[in-house]
Amino acid sequence: MTNPIEDIEKANVILITGSNTTENHPVLSSFVKRAVTRKGAKLIVVDPRRIPIVNFASCWLRQNLGTDVAWINGMMHVIIKEGLYDEAYVESRTVGLEDLKKAVERYTPEYVEKVSGIPKEDLVAAARLYASAKAASILYAMGITQHICGTDNVKSLANLAMLCGNVGIEGGGVNPLRGQNNVQGACDMGSLPDVFTGYQRVADPALREKMAKAWGVKSLPEKPGITVMEMMDSAHEGKLKGLYIIGENPLLSDPDLKHARASLDKLDFLVVQDIFLTETARVADVVLPSTSFAEKDGTFTNTERKVQRIRKAVDPPGEAREDWKILCDLSARMGYPMNYGNVEAVMAEIREVTPSYCGINYERLEREGIHWPCPGTEHPGTPCLHVDQFSCGLGVFHAIEWVPPAEVPDQHYPLYLTTGRVLYQYHTGTMTMKSDGLNELAPECFVEISPADARKYGLGDGEKIKVSSRRGEIEAKARISDKAVDGTVFVPFHYAEGAANELTNTALDPVALIPELKVCAVRIEKV
């Protein structure tokens, strides 16, 4: 997030898109709800499903799946045409307005209505509302990024925010809501193929030399590595021979599970380090038992870039060991001893090599976390990014064109499928499904379908149906709900029994290499 979570209550307008906030980030959603009910903020929700946060919206746009660039360009078209943008901000802090103007010119409300299904008057109203705010905050999640145009979607939201002067101000911002506790931290720490910690590029010789020196090795590999989806493909092609998976369950979370299973099958050697024998661990050659968050010390970095402590509360079961200790032991066996006395010593090294974490130490984190960048121990941290200028200088508008999803309904697969989570379960269910109470409230997979579609297929509520795509098929009970929009079904991806990702598409965003998990074409039939 460019802004801290508490800023949400300082916004005059909040735009939520691609985020089922109340179910996936319940505590954060309470900031939105308080802003609306107690602070008088106006909420715009752009989401095809009637998600619970819609109840708080003064404006709800129900776009067709995969048409985000179109409606965002459409809003900017209206804002530019009506002269509602923040001229002073655009003038002093950005470049590329002319390119943007040209690009959005043809995204008239009429054209956008044709593409996205959003009635033109609603689009105009939303554009005016967003532009009218002194401070407007944009919140988004995987509903924006898990598309072949995910990067373009995010850039479009950034365009919109900059156009109205909403980046770098209190209550504003472009704010991705991270779905996993430490996904921000994993990125910050360089668990990415092209960067070391703090997004220092591996392609930069000076940075490689700096890291090599810090780590006491002669050299470090200069070619950026491959991403998670490429790893699967590379394994499938027989190029990748060995894979070491820590705390992930791709055999439930990857798109097109048939492909994922075939890929892992082709590996010479698979190690899985986890707290449970997950679907993925079951096919491993070696399984290493690790510790849960309650059994170790360390830090997580949350969605607002706040580094916070976790503390050991209980002992791990049996011989389970902390992930870092396992890796250090292994490293020593492979001829490179890593001798850290404790996790604080690891943090000390992180600070040394990472400018944005330089001022962060456990003593300072004792009572409350710190937002990075924090370049020194006297520095208070940076809750809000890009305040006086963008980290790259001027903010650049990108001219972006809408492209349709990789797979659209046709006569064989006439419905759209979109996937997501429900309130009472989490990701692949490895953790939440161990709590009876949560299982009681969300016991099994379902296919959410609109009343009109249910009538069309002659389905009753709770009736078992088969959903198939070009990649696989699952069976689950129909749940007739006005949450669903006509023509689109929704399936949660938590459940191994009825795994939504048997159906999903591996088509990738060309830049971020994120798969299009949010859109594919399916057909349904009675079992």
Binding site: P221, V307, V346
Partner: protein
């Protein structure tokens, strides 16, 4: 002191118990007092919610006011003279506590106490046969605590025979509205803090009670089981199912360990309550961001996986198609040898590591360092894309 100087300029000063204090416009008497370490008891007052003035335990004397004033709802004003400890204040607080005790089933033996000593009464309570249906909040009840502090004893008022069936038909929250004092904290927590709008005041007069969706069970209402109301309840009306055994509340000392929730990316600050090496409860940390005490259903109730019997306890090695248990020595040797062999035969880029959004920063750091410095490839990624 910037606040003091500004206040002097604008005359935003009031007197509490003979001392002058500066205040910011809009601050209540209670807030100014608390900020300056002056103790005014409260029951219904809740940080982050608008004051309701329902319990009137926080009354104080304000010079010139006809009646005692609820300090939680009364804004501080220039030249106001407040007294927090006068006999009238103490009498009123005690009376209000007595009335609250008489308003429902508060069988912590406060009501029929006619002895002088609290210790005697507590000892007696332990010995009686009825002990088993002692209020589950016994010993952790704000009303009981205040009754003790204000030495409320005997009972001038016959307790109302309020009886509501105990609601247990959901997995997480036990509702016993016969112990409810209608302070409204749960309603504030639900409607103003979490804004789930699942519960409200229902009925009138002596029939008044807290209702969910037209007086239905929580599981048939809009309740999403965040548990904020339980954390807010000052008495035994809302307790956690997990805290109950056949004989009321599970007893025993717990150790509180502050940590960060391991579910979504919000990073809520929570206390793990640990007894005998096991997590028995989770509560939100008040007064610190990002969550200021709030949690969701997963954070508060989804901790059982930690002690689940299916947790992996030893390394496993696949042999002839099935797993066998192995020592760390064996397992790590196999992994090191295999990785070294692949590295030698096919080069470091034939190996990849999937680190994790579930492990710590320190562990991710070690994972990518291991991949780059030891294996010698940049093939490291995690599930940010999924």
């Amino acid at each position: 002191m910037k606040r003091e100087e500004e206040a002097m300029e604008s005359k935003n000063i009031l007197v509490i118990d003979g001392n002058e204090y500066a205040f910011d416009p809009g601050e209540t008497i209670l807030e100014v007092a608390r900020r300056n370490g002056i103790d005014i008891p409260t029951l219904c007052w809740m940080k982050r919610a608008s004051p309701t003035g329902a319990c009137r335990v926080c009354v104080v004397e304000v010079e010139g006011a006809r009646n005692l004033v609820a300090s939680c709802a009364a804004p501080a004003a220039p030249n106001m003279v407040v007294r927090t400890q006068t006999p009238a204040v103490m009498r009123a607080r005690r009376l209000n506590i007595e009335l609250l005790l008489a308003s429902g089933q508060h069988n912590c033996l406060v009501q029929d106490l006619d002895m002088d000593s609290w210790t005697d009464s507590q000892l007696r309570s332990m010995e009686t046969k009825e002990h088993h249906d002692l209020c589950p909040a016994y010993g952790d009840c704000r009303l009981q605590e205040l009754a003790i502090k204000y030495q409320v004893r005997g009972c001038r008022f016959a307790p109302l025979d309020v009886r509501h069936e105990i609601e247990t038909v959901n997995p997480f929250i036990v509702r016993d509205l016969s112990r409810c004092i209608l302070c409204g904290r749960c309603v504030q927590a639900c409607n103003e803090i979490q804004v789930n709008n699942a519960i409200s005041f229902g009925y009138r007069g002596t029939r008044a009670k807290i209702v969910a969706k037209g007086d239905r069970a929580l599981k048939d209402s809009d309740c999403v089981f965040c548990g904020e109301c339980v954390q807010a309840c000052p008495v035994g009306a809302l307790v956690l199912t997990q805290d109950m055994d056949g004989n009321g509340r599970v007893k025993g000392e717990t150790k509180l360990v502050r940590t960060t929730c391991s579910y979504c990316g919000v990073g809520c600050q929570m206390y793990l309550h640990v007894r005998k090496g096991r997590i028995v409860r989770v509560t939100g940390v008040e007064g610190v961001g990002p969550n200021h005490g709030s949690l969701c259903v997963k954070g508060r109730f989804g901790y059982h996986f930690v002690h689940d019997p299916e947790r992996l306890k030893t390394p496993l090695i696949r042999e002839n198609g099935t797993f066998r248990e192995a020592t760390w020595e064996e397992a790590l040797t196999v992994v090191a040898e295999k990785l070294n062999r692949i590295k030698k035969a096919d080069g470091p880029d034939a190996i990849a590591v999937l680190a994790s959004a579930r492990i710590t920063n320190e562990e991710n750091y070690v994972a990518q360092k291991f991949t780059r410095a030891v294996i010698g490839t940049n093939n490291v990624d995690h599930c940010a894309r999924l």
